[in-house]
Symmetry: none
Subunit: 435 residues, 2 copies
């Protein structure tokens, strides 16, 4: 790790700041609401993404209550380990927000009225037609030793401190205010100081093998990865995102290494990869349908509209999606989709035969080019001999014929609905790209 | 803080465990993906909510990378401060998951094969038709000194350790596996050890007013709340959960106070409350339909199947839900649902007239007792003069007639789809209970 000395001149003071080319950062989120579970801390993941993109490694994220002693103890530890500490929250005008007072104590400074901040607050509240009160005015009091990071989106300013070779930044917890200050002030200030290590991620989306089986298949690939590249498995409802992370001194080398390893990965598991970038199956399907000017419709039983919902979650889906029928009752399967009475009698509603007739039925009904149908048992009840909860039959129909399959997943209803839907989308995608 | 000694007997060992009636807990989330920002840590907020509900105060939440040294250091500190440490993540079968190995090091124990865990893994994978490989089998190796918390939803078991008067529990990071183990094993084990629950929550579900307006309406109610009761607003897609929290020495008094305040709340906003317990609109609708032996179907355009998905997410919905049509294209609206050409020409597809014909059409098509239909502009494109993105027309049809309304929400596609669906469910619920 190389170390350089940066001399930074600010409006109010001059200091010598030691920064590392491979900077380590910690994020501290302050607020009782995080510890009671009332608020999910989405800020820290957003900040972590931005810092990583800027080449800064985040080594820890903490959430602590609005207690001065806790804030001081965690700051003392953090600046020993890290060159950057980013604090969110506790800057509101109410009495439970104590961050600013506590930072004064930690940095041995005092609050002083800042006219620019006061002007900004007057302007913001004026626009909303709100009169300034004492609580608002107190938000213009800032620690004397900090550099103010102006908040154009709200009344609490960001604050930049330096101590013992570390940068400590405090920003509000309101997500859009925090994002504005981090993007428009914190990252540019850090970039000015010449941080150069590049961390670049590449995501490869797979479906078709569970994590352990995929990992087994990739044992050799992983063992032969160059030292600068790490592989992570990020599974979600059957889809596994493979993330390659390159950590290099220069971005060009990192991108080259990622290109090489992505090519090897593609050659190793070509049949499992559905995208070489972060994408959902429904997005990839939308793109493949658009590329082929094909239209699509779906007939759902056990997935209850979820496939339709996923497809229509993609902006522009009306260009290729005609519609769907959720045939929850057998009578709808027969009257609307034309499933034959004897198919249900002979094979049951949960059968590849029924799924096939549903897929053909919706294709005829809507006049679409390709369709997918599902029928199964999401649970908790509905199991029959030989067909446990978790069974799903899926069929895809197009002018190339009707393909179907039967799968068994788990026992949890909501999870089954998700897994069934993803399995159906994958079968659909494979049939689309064969066109 | 009073302290009591609990003697706990397990299958394999006997220990004296010191627990506090006011227990402090910390949550540690392990995984590089949390520190790169690729994954938002939603687990910790969920766990914090559950622990708070059980009367346990969460004093810190941390996210750290998959590094043995960091895991050990944070555990050393955590057990000095807290009586309960809950660790999530890092239990997958792949080489980047090192939690189990590190826990062995921390507790001075070794991995031993656990036959019950192996049986569970075989069963889970067997159901999915997947053959066991070495990585799967290795998940049955658990630290010798731990009590295994069986994971019925996945292959990685939870683990319960005790050291220096603290309980340390490790659970997988996959949210539904984590939730299962915490709810079904961790909380019951803690309850067995006599932690006195002093915090009781009551949830009252509302729809119909935004948060600020609801808060204004409840200003007087809030001001007159007894000191032991706190009110919180928990909004989500238009539904606002009002949570009354009682903090008392005795549960009987807490329940009495909650009953009293709930009655006052009901008298204050009777038209907004749809449940006096934690419930979704789709669950309440299911109950109301079942109570009246009514059947239901839906015709969706802009909500794209989401209403159908929400309704079928409720176990047992096949008793009242017949099915749905997602009529994304106008031709499906006309051919399947019988919307008149001239209705679309005169009023547009996004109109209360079209919604009304869609609701009547699906009722005729399926023979259901009551139906709901949506047509709107989820965005980002599709706005027309006088109908901005975020516009939705909703109609409910039954033998009592067809009722419709037009609403305007925001500009975000996914959020609009959720808001449209919730608005439709609320209109449906009001019509059902008038029957």
């Amino acid at each position: 790790m190389s170390v350089l000395i940066v001399t930074a001149t600010y409006k109010n003071y001059l200091c010598n700041l030691i920064l590392c080319t491979h900077m380590k950062a910690e994020i501290i989120a302050i607020g009782d609401e995080l510890l009671t579970g009332q608020t999910v801390d989405t800020n820290s993941a957003w900040i972590a993404t931005e810092l990583n993109r800027a080449g800064i490694e985040v080594t820890g994220i903490s959430a602590i209550p609005d207690r001065a002693a806790r804030i001081i103890r965690i700051l003392e530890n953090a600046i020993r380990r890290s060159q950057l500490v980013l604090i969110t929250g506790g800057l509101g005008p109410t009495s439970d927000d104590i961050t600013k007072k506590t930072l004064c104590e930690f940095f041995g400074t005092r609050l002083v009225r800042n006219q620019s901040v006061l002007d900004n607050i007057s302007q913001l509240l004026g626009r909303r037609g709100v009169a300034l009160n004492a609580a608002n005015i107190s938000q213009a009091d800032v620690p004397e030793s900090c550099m103010v990071l102006m908040n154009k989106m709200g009344t609490a300013p960001g604050m930049w401190f330096e101590k013992d070779g570390a940068v400590i930044v405090s920003v509000p917890g309101v997500p859009y205010e925090m994002k504005h200050i981090v993007s428009d002030h914190v990252i540019p200030e850090l970039q000015k100081r010449g941080i150069v290590t590049e961390i670049i991620h590449r995501n490869i989306m797979t479906y078709g093998l569970p994590e352990a089986q995929l990992a087994e298949k990739l044992t050799g690939f992983e063992a032969r990865l160059p030292g600068e590249i790490k592989l992570a498995y990020l599974p979600s409802s059957g889809v596994i995102k493979l993330r390659l992370t390159a950590r290099c001194d220069d971005a060009g080398k990192a991108l080259n290494l990622l290109d090489q390893q992505t090519a090897i990965l593609k050659a190793t598991i070509p049949e499992l990869i559905f995208a070489e970038y972060e994408a959902s199956l429904e997005e990839v399907i939308g793109k493949e349908l658009s590329d082929r000017a094909m239209t699509f419709a779906t007939a759902e039983s056990c997935t209850g509209g979820n496939i339709s919902r996923l497809i229509t979650s993609v902006p522009g889906s009306s260009a290729y999606f005609l519609g769907s029928v959720t045939a929850y009752s057998n009578s709808i399967k027969k009257t609307l989709l034309g499933v034959k009475e004897k198919t249900i009698n002979n094979y049951g509603a949960v059968s590849v035969e029924c799924a096939g007739e549903m897929a053909e039925g919706i294709r005829i009904l809507t006049g679409c080019d390709i369709s997918v149908a599902t029928t199964g048992i999401a649970g908790p009840s509905g199991a029959t001999p030989g067909k446990p909860v978790g069974t799903v039959c899926i069929a895809v129909s197009s002018d190339g014929g009707t393909h179907s399959g039967q799968f068994v997943f788990g026992t949890d209803r909501l999870l089954n609905i998700r897994r069934f839907s993803i399995a159906a989308l994958d079968m659909l995608r494979r049939q689309i790209i064969s066109h």
